[in-house]
Amino acid sequence: MMNTKIKIILWVVMFVILVFLPRMFGIYYTNLFVTFAVFAVYAVSLNVLLGYTGLLSFGHAIFFGAGGYGTALALKHIEGISLLTAIGIGFFAAFLLSLILAPLVTRVSGTAFSMIHLAFGQLFYVLALKLRHVTGGEDGIGNFPIPDLSVLWMFSVPIKREPVNFYYFAVVILGLSLWLLWYFTKTPFGQIQIGIRDNAKRIDYLGYKVYQSKALIYVVSGAFAGVAGSVYSLFQNMVSPDASLGIVVSFTPIMATMIGGAGSFFGPICGTAIFQVIEEITHHFTDRVELVTGAILVLVIMFAPQGLAGFITSVKQRYFSSPAAGAKKEET
C-alpha cells in the first residue's frame, strides 16, 4: 500500500517539524504559529456549521469569547485551579452558552440564522463592555495568573512567560481538538449533517430528528470554538471585548473558511494559513488590512466560490484522475 506509507511518512515529517519548529524559526514565528493554530481550530469549528451543515453564523465569536472569558475568570478568581481545569471551564462555558442558544437558533436557517447571530454577537459584545465589575469593560481581564502545567502529577512545567513551553502545550491541546472534530465529521452522525445541508426534508423523512441533530452540531461547534478562545486568552494572557468578542472575530474565520473552501475539513486550516500570510504581508505595506482582506473575499466569491479546496478538486478531476474516479468524487 503506497498510500498508507506516504501518509505515515507525511505524519512523521509533520510531527518532526512541529517538535523542532521553535528551534528552527525562533520565537516570533513560533508565536505566529500558535496564533495560526488557535484560529485554525476556531475556523474548523465554524466550518462544522458552515461547510458541513450549511448554517452561516455571523456571531461565532460569542463562543470564542465565552471560552476566553470563562478561562480568564476562572484563573483570576479560583485559587489553586489547575491549567487543564481552567481550559475545561472555558470549554464548558461555551458548551453551556451554545446549549442555551440552540433551541432558539436551530428553528431558523438561512439568512435569519446568520442575522440572529449577528445580533447576539453584538449583544454579548455590549454586555462584555458594560458589565464592568465582572469583565473589566473595555480593558478586559489582563495579566491573570497562569499556573504551571503539572504533567502526570510528577513534575510541573512553567507556562507563563515561557513561549516555547506554551507552544508545545497549545499544539497538544489544539491538535487534540482538531483530531476530535475530524473524528466527529467522520462518524455516521457527522454524515447526517451533510444530509441536513443538502436536503433537510429528506433527512426528516428518513427518520432523523433535524432540529435535535442541528442543535447537537451547534453545541459541538460552539464548544470547540470555546477551546480555541480559551487557549487564545492564555496565549495573550489577556481577554478583551475587541480581541475576543468583536465583530471582526466573527468574520475572520468566515473569510478563512471561504478562502480555504467550505465543506472540506482541511480547507479552513489552509484558509487560515493563507489569511495570516496575507495579513503579515499587508501589514508591512499598509495599515488598511481590512481593505485588502475584503477585496480578496470579494474576488474569491466571484471567481472561486468553492475556495482553494474546490479549486484543487476541480484541477485534480480535470487532469489527474480517470473519468470514473471524477464521477465518484462528485457524488461524495
Binding site: 458552515l50 450549511g54 452561516l56 432558539l104 428553528r107 431558523v108 438561512g110 439568512t111 435569519a112 446568520s114 442575522m115 440572529i116 449577528l118 445580533a119 447576539f120 453584538q122 449583544l123 455590549v126 454586555l127 458594560k130 465583530i247 468574520f251 468566515i254 471561504m258 488598511r288 481590512e290 481593505l291 482582506t293 475584503g294 477585496a295 480578496i296 473575499l297 470579494v298 466569491i301 466571484m302 466560490p305
Partner: protein, 290 residues
C-alpha cells in the same frame, strides 16, 4: 406643564426620529430582500457612504439641501453598480455566497471611507431654517427632528404611491410573489432588479443624510445604526414593510427611553426584544414561513 411630562414627550420625539431613520434603512433592506431574496449586508455601508457624500457635498456647495438631493443619488448609483457587476454574476452560488459577497463589499467600502475621509468625526451643520425650536402647545420641539420625521413620512408616502399606483410598483409586487412568472410574461426582470436595488440604496442614502447632522459623520456609524436596522428587519420579519415600520418605532422608543433610564444597557433591550419575538415566532413578527 409638568416638566417630567414634557421630558417624556421630548424623549418620545427623539425615539420616533431615530425609529424613522431606522425604518428608512430597514425598508430599503426589506424591499431588496422581498424582491430578490438577497440580504444586502453592504446596506449599512451604503448608509454611511451617503452620510460622507452629504458631508462632501455640503463642504463643496455649502448647502444642506443639495446634500439631501445629491448624496442619496450618488449612493444609489453605487448600489446599482454593486447589483449589476457583482451580485448578478454570482447568482448561481446561492444565498451564502451573496451574504459573504456583500460582507466583503461592506468591508471594502468602509476601508475606502477611512482612506478618503480619515477616522475623525466630521460635523454637518443643520441648515439655518431648521436650527431653532418649534413650540406647540407650550412645549418646545427641536425642529430638525420634526423635519426628519416629516421627511421620513413623505418618503414612506412616496414609496406607497410607487408600489401601489405605478406600473413599476405593480411589476415589483408581482415579482415578489412569483418572479419566474413575471419573467415569462416578458418583463425584463434584471432591469427591474437593478431599479429596486437602486431604490433600496437610495432609501439608505436618505437615512444617511438625515442622521448626519444629529450624530455627525464617523466610521462607526455603520456598525452603530446599521446593526440596529438589521435587527429591525430580523424582528419585523424579512420582506415585511409593516413589520419593519412597527418594530422601527418600538426600537426607537426603546432606545431613547432606555438611554434615559438604564443608560448602559439600552442596546441589550433591543436584542432582548428580538430574542423574545424570535422565541415565539422564528420568522419575525410579520414574517412568512419559507
Amino acid at each position: 406643564m409638568d416638566p417630567s411630562v414634557s421630558m417624556y414627550i421630548s424623549q418620545a420625539i427623539h425615539g420616533i426620529t431615530y425609529g424613522m431613520i431606522l425604518f428608512l434603512i430597514a425598508s430599503g433592506l426589506n424591499i431588496i430582500f422581498g424582491m430578490m431574496g438577497i440580504l444586502n449586508l453592504a446596506h449599512a455601508a451604503f448608509f454611511m457612504l451617503s452620510a460622507y457624500f452629504c458631508y462632501q457635498v455640503v463642504a463643496v456647495t455649502g448647502s444642506f439641501w443639495m446634500g439631501l438631493i445629491l448624496a442619496p443619488i450618488f449612493t444609489a448609483f453605487f448600489g446599482i453598480l454593486l447589483e449589476r457587476f457583482f451580485l448578478r454574476r454570482i447568482s448561481g452560488v446561492g444565498h451564502m455566497g451573496e451574504l459573504i459577497l456583500t460582507l466583503g463589499i461592506a468591508t471594502v467600502i468602509m476601508g475606502l471611507i477611512k482612506v478618503f475621509w480619515g477616522t475623525e468625526s466630521l460635523p454637518v451643520a443643520i441648515p439655518p431654517i431648521l436650527r431653532g425650536l418649534v413650540s406647540v402647545g407650550g412645549l418646545d420641539y427641536p425642529s430638525y427632528r420634526l423635519f426628519v420625521i416629516g421627511l421620513s413620512l413623505m418618503v414612506l408616502l412616496f414609496m406607497v404611491l410607487l408600489l401601489y399606483k405605478t406600473r413599476l410598483g405593480k411589476i415589483v409586487r408581482a415579482a415578489v410573489s412569483d418572479r419566474d412568472m413575471v419573467n415569462a410574461l416578458g418583463i425584463n426582470i434584471p432591469v427591474v432588479f437593478m431599479c429596486v436595488f437602486g431604490i433600496g440604496t437610495w432609501l439608505a442614502g436618505i437615512a444617511g443624510v438625515a442622521i448626519a447632522p444629529i450624530l455627525t459623520v464617523f466610521p462607526g456609524l455603520a456598525d452603530q445604526v446599521g446593526m440596529d436596522a438589521f435587527i429591525v428587519v430580523v424582528t419585523g420579519g424579512f420582506g415585511s414593510l409593516a413589520g419593519a415600520f412597527i418594530v422601527s418605532i418600538i426600537f426607537g422608543l426603546l432606545s431613547s427611553f432606555g438611554v434615559q433610564f438604564i443608560s448602559d444597557f439600552a442596546p441589550v433591550l433591543m436584542v432582548g426584544f428580538m430574542a423574545i419575538v424570535l422565541a415565539v415566532k422564528p420568522h419575525g413578527l410579520f414574517g412568512v414561513e419559507e
